[in-house]
């Protein structure tokens, strides 16, 4: 059993320094790794990222993160990423990483993701350049997630987890106003997960949403936005059904960069369109 701790939307700033550390210090009792599902800061500035970094620095479990829309707000996602990486956090965008848990290769593929809506109720790459860019951005990030998941499969990961900020399914948005669902996620993310396969999908963004959901292909989805899970982090136990491998424990990276794409580099994920000012964040 792999124990996965996850939380998103912690929105830390200087006045919340130290808020989560006491709970994070208990992580070795609960989990084998910690996933951070974006919106780690409020405005996406390095000073706020440093607060996040200090909260997780030196933890005895691997910490893997994606950024959220708040982390892009100041249009300095590279700086936010650098601060987090300096504290040992693996920050993913269109990439995967492998963690060795007692000889089991656990892969995490991550992207911020973006909006656009869900099957039958979604935007299209049509019309004004802004609209095309909106949908194209989501499609590019979903493609990056697919490549990253494929890379983890090729590497023989027994467990694969998809980590996003935006939601792949509407299930976990229940509680949010229906009208803003297209700003909360996209079916393109779920399609990538279903095509490549994943054992769990974790996202944030929808503060007023619901914890449990599932893709049409059967991938379990969990909304770990902190206001939803109502604790410092949630923990999910994943069975190991695949093959075991006691190979290298060092970090390995897969995905769009490994495959030579220049479209989905970490921290350069396009327009910083924010979601509407109602509901989650």
């Amino acid at each position: 059993m792999i124990r996965v701790a996850a939380v998103g939307d912690i929105h830390l700033g200087p006045d919340s320094r130290g808020l989560l550390r006491p709970a994070f210090d208990t992580l070795p009792d609960h989990a084998d790794l910690l996933l951070l599902a974006g919106d780690l800061t409020r405005h996406g500035i390095p000073e706020e990222a440093q607060v996040v970094a200090d909260e997780v620095a030196g933890l005895p479990v691997p910490v893997i993160a994606v950024l959220g829309n708040h982390d892009h707000h100041s249009e300095r996602p590279e700086d936010v990423t650098d601060v987090l990486r300096a504290a040992g956090v693996t920050v993913l965008e269109g990439e995967g990483t492998v963690v060795d848990v007692d000889g089991v290769r656990v892969g995490v593929a991550g992207t911020k993701g973006f909006g656009g809506g869900f099957a039958g109720r979604s935007g299209s790459e049509f019309g004004e350049p802004e609209m095309k860019a909106f949908v194209r951005h989501t499609r590019g990030l979903a493609d990056g997630l697919r490549r990253a998941l494929d890379g983890l499969a090729a590497d023989g990961c027994a467990v694969r987890i998809a980590l996003t900020h935006f939601s792949p399914v509407p299930d976990t948005l229940v509680g949010e106003p229906l009208e803003i669902y297209p700003f909360l996620g996209s079916y393109l993310l779920a399609e990538a997960m279903d095509e490549s396969g994943a054992d769990l999908a974790v996202h944030g963004h929808a503060h007023l949403g619901t914890e449990h959901g599932i893709t049409s292909g059967g991938v379990r989805v969990r909304n770990v936005a902190q206001p939803v899970i109502r604790r410092a982090f949630a923990v999910y136990g994943l069975p190991v059904n695949g093959f075991h491998d006691s190979g290298t424990a060092g970090p390995a990276t897969y995905g769009s960069r490994a495959h030579g794409s220049a479209t989905d580099r970490p921290g350069t994920s396009g327009p910083a369109t924010d979601r509407p000012a109602t509901g989650g964040s």
Binding site: T26, H207, A232, S281
Partner: protein
């Protein structure tokens, strides 16, 4: 924000509907349009220091209902202060919870 002076009443505003009082035009409202004021409040919360986009703000009869979760008590006070500034004279009911930052006492086992 609407520029008309608020009528100061917390109970007799026509929330989100408006009462036509313009001379023969049927277009002017006697009170600021609460629907737009709620939208402006949402913008204000998002753009300010809090970067708060997680509040649900809705008209319920003659009351504006605000629900959500704030990170800290300080943040909650700041949100309520902005609400008071943006919606003077409007009855507000706020159910803003504080984020629980305790470690979980259980896990979910996925089969």
């Amino acid at each position: 924000m609407a520029t008309e002076p608020d009528n100061g009443s917390a109970v007799d505003d026509d929330v989100g509907v408006g009462t036509d009082t313009g001379p023969g035009t049927g277009a002017a409202h006697s009170a600021p349009n609460t629907e737009y004021r709620i939208a402006h409040l949402g913008e204000q919360l998002a753009r300010g220091d809090l970067a708060e986009l997680g509040m649900r703000i809705e008209a319920r009869g003659d009351t504006v209902h605000i629900t959500g979760t704030a990170s800290t008590a300080h943040d909650r006070e700041a949100i309520l202060r902005i609400v008071a500034e943006e919606l003077p004279g409007v009855r507000v009911r706020a159910d803003i919870a504080l984020a629980d930052v305790s470690a979980p006492d259980h896990s979910e086992e996925l089969s």
